[in-house]
C-alpha cells in the first residue's frame, strides 16, 4: 500500500517573502516581480521629495485640481468630466513604462536607483518604517509602529494564543513554552525561594559532598560520577531491593513534605557516591519521616537530596492532611494489574486514510528525482563535459556565464595561496600518479609564482590562456582555466536564473 502524504497545505509560508534584502513589499499580484537587486533596466526612476512622497493627494485632476491618493481613483474621477474620448486616453508612453521609486534619504540603501522599489506604496512604507517616526503603539504590548497597516496587523495577533514565560520570552506554541519553562532559570529561582523556608537546616543537607543538591552552586557538580562504568551489582548484594519498592509496599503512605529523609544521606556517605547509579529523589514522599525507613532507604540508589517543597502555587498538596489519595492510591486499593490496553483500545487504531497529496515531491534536486543514474562518468569526462557546456553556452550551469573560454589573460589573476581552504592549485610537477594531469597540461611548465603572477588553474602562465584555440585537449584545460579566471563574471550563470533557494520552494 502506498504511503499517503499528508502535506502541510497551509498557505502561510515560514519563508516569508520579505526575506529578500530590498524590503520590497509584494506588489499587486499581476505585476511580474523583479528579482532583488535586478530592477528592470527600462524602468523610469522616480525620485520624490519626502513631502511629495508622503503627500496624500499626489494625483491631481487637471480640470478641477482635485487631488487623489491613487492614480486609479484619479482616472475614475476624470471620466466624470465627460472629456472627448481622445483626450481621455492616457498616452501610450505613460501607460507602458514601469516606474520605480527611490528613497529620498541619501544614506539609505534604497536611494540608489539600482535598488529602487517598484511600488509607490512600498517606498512610502519603507520611508516611514526606516526613517519615520513611530506614531502607532500597541496597547497590549509596548511595540510601536510607523506604518498604520503594520500596527493593525500586529494588533490582530498580539496576545492571542501566546504563551509568556516569566522571563519574558513569548511562545506561539504550547509545547515550546512548556519545554522552555521547565528549564528556565526563573522557575528554579522561584523554587529556591520556597524551599529555604521550609526544610531541614542547610548544614545537614550539605554535608554529603555529593549530595547533588541542585540548588547549591554548580561547583558541586564537580562531584560527578566518574566516567568509568561501574557495575551496580557490586553494591546490590548487600542491600535490599529498591527502596522505593519498600515505600510502595508499606502501608499508609503518609505524605509529608517532599523531602526524602535527608538524614539518611549522612549514613550514605560511606563511599556510596561513586560508581553507582545516582538517584536524585526529589519530592519522594518518604514515608521516611518515620525512623524505620531510614535504613531501608539507604540503599544503593544512594543519594537522596529531596530539597524541594512544593511551589507556592500548591502548598496544600503536601500537607499531610490533604487528601493524599489524589496523588497516591494507598497500596491496597485499585492496584490490580492493568493489562496493557494497547491491543484493545480502539483509539490507537487508525483506519486507512486516503488523503490526497497536494504537493508531489518536487524534482528540483536531480539526484533524487532520477533514480536511474546517469551513466557513471569518469572525473575527466565530467570535467570535459562541464567545459563543453561552458564553451557552448547552452544548458549547463557551472560555466555558463563564462561563455568566453579564452578570457583575457589580464583577468586571470590567481593568487597561488588564498583559495578558500588554502589549497594550492594542482601542478603537474607536484602531482604524483596523476595520469590525466600531464595530458591536460598545455605546456610542461609549472609556475608557482608570487601572487602577482598570472596563473591559471594548472599553474601555468599565460601561454595557456587561449585554451579555446585548442578544442581537443583544450576542453578540460579550458574548463580549468575558466574556473580560475573570469574575473567579474558569474560562475554559475547569467542574470535571469533564479537563485537556488527559490527553486527549492516551488512546490
Amino acid at each position: 500500500m502506498a504511503p499517503v502524504e499528508l502535506e502541510n497545505s497551509s498557505t502561510v509560508s515560514g519563508d516569508a517573502s520579505g526575506v529578500s534584502s530590498t524590503g520590497n513589499l509584494n506588489p499587486p499580484p499581476k505585476k511580474k516581480r523583479n528579482l532583488p537587486g535586478m530592477p528592470d533596466p527600462g524602468a523610469e526612476v522616480i525620485a520624490l521629495s519626502p513631502k511629495t512622497l508622503m503627500a496624500t493627494n499626489r494625483f491631481v485632476c487637471e480640470i478641477c485640481n482635485k487631488g487623489f491618493q491613487r492614480d486609479q481613483n484619479l482616472q475614475l474621477h476624470r471620466r466624470g468630466h465627460n472629456l472627448p474620448w481622445k483626450l481621455r486616453q492616457r498616452s501610450a508612453k505613460d501607460a507602458v513604462r514601469k516606474k520605480v521609486y527611490v528613497c529620498p534619504v541619501s544614506a539609505c540603501v534604497h536611494h540608489d536607483p539600482s535598488r529602487a522599489l517598484g511600488d509607490l506604496t512600498g517606498i512610502k512604507k519603507h520611508f516611514c518604517r526606516k526613517h519615520g517616526e513611530k506614531k502607532y503603539k500597541c496597547d497590549k504590548c509596548s511595540k510601536k509602529y510607523a506604518v498604520h497597516s503594520d500596527w493593525k496587523a500586529h494588533s490582530k495577533i498580539c496576545g492571542t494564543k501566546e504563551y509568556r514565560c516569566d522571563c519574558g520570552t513569548l511562545f506561539s506554541r504550547k509545547d515550546s513554552f512548556i519545554t522552555h519553562r521547565a528549564f528556565c532559570d526563573v522557575l528554579a529561582e522561584e523554587s529556591a525561594k520556597n524551599q529555604t523556608n521550609k526544610l531541614y537546616p542547610q548544614p545537614e543537607l550539605k554535608s554529603p559532598p555529593a549530595a547533588a543538591a541542585p540548588l547549591t552552586p554548580p561547583n558541586v557538580s564537580a562531584e560527578t560520577e566518574p566516567v568509568k562504568i561501574a557495575s551496580p551489582s557490586v553494591r546490590s548484594s548487600s542491600e535490599s531491593p529498591n527502596p522505593l519498592e519498600v515505600i510502595m509496599e508499606e502501608a499508609p503512605r503518609t505524605i509529608g513534605f517532599n523531602v526524602s529523609s535527608s538524614v539518611i544521606s549522612d549514613d550514605d556517605r560511606s563511599g556510596n557516591n561513586n560508581c553507582t547509579p545516582r538517584t536524585i529523589g526529589f519530592n519522594v514522599t518518604s514515608s521516611g519521616l518515620s525512623g524505620d525507613h531510614t535504613s531501608n532507604n539507604n540503599n544503593n540508589n544512594g543519594i537522596y537530596a529531596g530539597l524541594f517543597s512544593s511551589s507556592t502555587s500548591s502548598p496544600s498538596l503536601y500537607a499531610s492532611s490533604t487528601p493524599s489519595t489524589s496523588l497516591f492510591a494507598p497500596p491496597s486499593s485499585s492496584m490490580e494489574p492493568i493489562s496493557l490496553c494497547l491491543s484493545t483500545n480502539p483509539s490507537l487504531y487508525v483506519g486507512p486514510t486516503t488523503i490526497q497529496d497536494p504537493h508531489p515531491p518536487p524534482h528540483f534536486l536531480t539526484p533524487l528525482s532520477l533514480p536511474p543514474p546517469q551513466p557513471a562518468m569518469s572525473a575527466t569526462a565530467l570535467l570535459q563535459k562541464a567545459a563543453q557546456m561552458g564553451s557552448t553556452g547552452s544548458g549547463g550551469s557551472l560555466l555558463r556565464g563564462l561563455g568566453i573560454v579564452s578570457s583575457t589573460s589580464s583577468s586571470m589573476e590567481l593568487s597561488s595561496h588564498d583559495l578558500g581552504l588554502g589549497l594550492l592549485p594542482p601542478c603537474s610537477s607536484g602531482g604524483s600518479g596523476g595520469s590525466g594531469l600531464k595530458e591536460l597540461m598545455m605546456g610542461n611548465s609549472c609556475v608557482f609564482g608570487p601572487k602577482q603572477t598570472t596563473l591559471d588553474f594548472l599553474g601555468l602562465g599565460r601561454a595557456v590562456g587561449n585554451g579555446s584555440s585548442n578544442p581537443v585537449g583544450g576542453g578540460l584545460s579550458a574548463l580549468l582555466t575558466s574556473i580560475g579566471g573570469g574575473g567579474g563574471m558569474d560562475v554559475f550563470g547569467t542574470a535571469g536564473e533564479f537563485p537556488g533557494k527559490d527553486i527549492g520552494r516551488s512546490l
Binding site: 536524585i280 526529589f282 492493568i338 518536487p362 562541464a386 550551469s397 581552504l421 604524483s432 573570469g486 537556488g500
Partner: protein, 414 residues
C-alpha cells in the same frame, strides 16, 4: 576556518555565490563522488584537482544551501584525504600546517537555548509528540511510570510529557526518569551536568504536582548500554509499574554489524525485550549511513543532509550557523572517520523495523489525536514540512518536500 590553521579564505571576485541553480546539486554530487573515489584509491593528484575545483565553487558561507552543503562535504573529504593520503598533504598545502578541527569544539548550549534550538524545526518535536502520545496512552492506570530516556536531546521531550501526565492521566503516577550519563562525543552538547538538568526537571514536575525521581546510570552507547540493561534487570519493579523505553535518535550510536561482528544493536534490543517493557518508542532518522564503501556513504549522506541545509534558509544567521554546524559535524564524522570514531551509523527505517520484529516487538499505530496534533504542529512551520503514514508498518514519517526525514514508531512486546 582559522582554528584549524587553514588560511582564511579570500573571496575570489569572480564567484558570485548566489546564482547556483538546483541543477548544480547534481553536478556537485558528481564531483564529490569522484573526489571520494580518488581518495579511496589514493589518487592524490586527482583528489587534489577535484578538491580545488569544489572548494572554489562551494564557499562555506555561500547564500545557496547547496553550496554550503557541498562545502561541508569538501571539508570532510579534505580531512579524510589529509589523513589517508599523506602524499596529498604536501601537494595540497605546501608548507602550511593542516590539522583536522579538534573534536572538542562542539558548541555547548545552555538548556534554555537547547530548548529553543530543538524547536526551530519539527525535526525533534515530531518524534516527541508521537512518542508522548503513545506513552500517555500506554501508562494510563499505572501508579508508577518508569521512563528510560535514551535521547540525543538531553531530555527535551520530558517537560511536555510531564505536562501531559499531569493533565491527561486520571491519576498522576509517580514518575521515575532514568537516563544514561551524558555522552560528550557528539552534538548537541549542553553546558550543565545531568544532575543539574535532572533537578530542573524534578522541580518542574513538582510545579505540575507530579512526584518524580531522576536517576543517572553510568552507561555508554559503545557497548550497547550494557550497564544500563544490567541495572534494569536487577532493579525490581514496583507493583503496577510501567516500564517505558524512549529511544530518540540514540540507538544509532550503538555499534552495528559494520563495526563489530556481533551486532550490539540486536543484543540491546534482545535484552530490552527480555525486560518486558510496557512500551518502547523508536524515533530515528531515515537514511543509510552505514555503508563501508566510502563512495556509497558519501552519496547517501549527500542525499540526506541536503535536507537540514535546505530547511535553514529561513533562519536568522546565528541560528543557521549553529544548526548547520551540527550537520557539518555529522558529515565529517560520516565521511572522514572510521572505526569507533565513526559514531554516526544511521540506518533506514526498514532496517530498524526488521530489527524490532526480529526481536519480538510488534508495531503499534499512533492515535488519530496524535496525527492531528502532528499536522497542527507542522502547519506552524515552513511549508515544506509534511508527514506520511505508512499503513503497512504503522510508522509515521516526517517529510521535507516529500522526502523522508525522521520516522516515529511505537512497539510492544509480542
Amino acid at each position: 576556518m582559522t582554528r584549524t590553521g587553514i588560511i582564511s579564505p579570500t573571496r575570489f571576485p569572480s564567484f558570485k555565490s548566489q546564482r547556483c541553480s538546483g541543477g548544480d546539486a547534481s553536478f556537485m554530487e558528481q564531483l564529490l563522488l569522484h573526489c571520494a573515489t580518488a581518495i579511496d584509491s589514493n589518487d592524490a593528484a586527482l583528489a587534489h584537482q577535484l578538491l580545488w575545483v569544489l572548494n572554489n565553487i562551494a564557499p562555506p558561507d555561500a547564500d545557496s544551501s547547496t553550496q554550503r552543503l557541498t562545502s561541508a562535504f569538501v571539508r570532510a573529504l579534505l580531512s579524510r584525504a589529509a589523513s589517508k593520503i599523506p602524499a596529498l598533504f604536501s601537494t595540497v598545502f605546501g608548507n602550511s600546517f593542516f590539522q583536522p578541527p579538534p573534536a572538542d569544539e562542539i558548541h555547548r548550549f545552555s538548556v534554555v537555548d537547547l530548548a529553543g534550538f530543538i524547536d526551530l524545526t519539527p525535526w525533534h518535536r515530531f518524534g516527541f509528540i508521537a512518542a508522548n502520545e503513545a506513552i500517555i496512552t500506554a501508562v494510563e492506570g499505572y501508579s508508577t511510570v518508569h521512563i528510560v530516556d535514551l535521547s540525543l536531546t538531553h531530555c527535551m521531550q520530558i517537560p511536555t510529557l510531564i505536562d501531559a501526565m499531569a493533565s491527561k492521566l486520571n491519576t498522576p503516577p509517580l514518575l521515575k526518569l532514568t537516563v544514561v550519563s551524558s555522552p560528550s562525543s557528539f552534538p548537541p552538547l549542553i553546558n550543565i551536568s545531568y544532575e543539574e538538568l535532572g533537578s530542573k526537571l524534578v522541580n518542574f514536575a513538582t510545579t505540575r504536582n507530579i512526584e518524580m525521581q531522576f536517576t543517572i546510570i553510568p552507561s555508554t552507547y559503545s557497548d550497547g548500554f550494557s550497564s544500563l540493561l544490567q541495572h534494569l534487570r536487577i532493579y525490581s519493579t514496583s507493583y503496577n509499574e510501567a516500564l517505558v523505553v524512549n529511544c530518540h535518535m540514540m540507538l544509532r550510536y550503538i555499534p552495528d554489524e559494520t563495526l563489530t561482528p556481533l551486532s550490539l544493536r540486536n543484543v540491546f534490543l534482545n535484552q530490552l525485550r527480555s525486560l518486558n517493557p510496557t512500551i518502547v518508542t523508536l524515533i530515528e532518522e531515515d537514511a543509510d549511513l552505514t555503508s563501508e564503501n566510502l563512495v556509497a556513504r558519501v552519496r547517501s549522506a549527500f542525499n540526506y543532509f541536503w535536507i537540514p541545509f535546505d530547511t535553514t534558509d529561513t533562519f536568522v544567521s546565528e541560528q543557521r550557523r549553529l544548526y548547520e554546524a551540527e550537520v557539518i559535524w555529522k558529515i565529517e564524522n560520516v565521511v572522514a572517520k572510521e572505526g569507533v570514531e565513526r559514531v554516526e551509523r544511521t540506518e533506514t527505517k526498514g532496517r530498524w523495523l526488521e530489527r524490532m520484529r526480529d526481536n519480538e516487538f510488534g508495531g503499534v499505530r499512533v492515535s488519530e489525536e496524535a496525527v492531528s496534533e502532528l499536522k497542527a504542529m507542522l502547519g506552524e512551520h515552513a511549508v515544506g514540512w509534511g508527514m506520511k503514514k505508512d499503513d503497512d508498518d504503522e510508522s509515521l514519517v516526517l517529510t521535507w518536500k516529500g522526502h523522508s526525514v525522521v520516522f516515529a514508531t511505537v512497539w510492544v512486546p509480542i
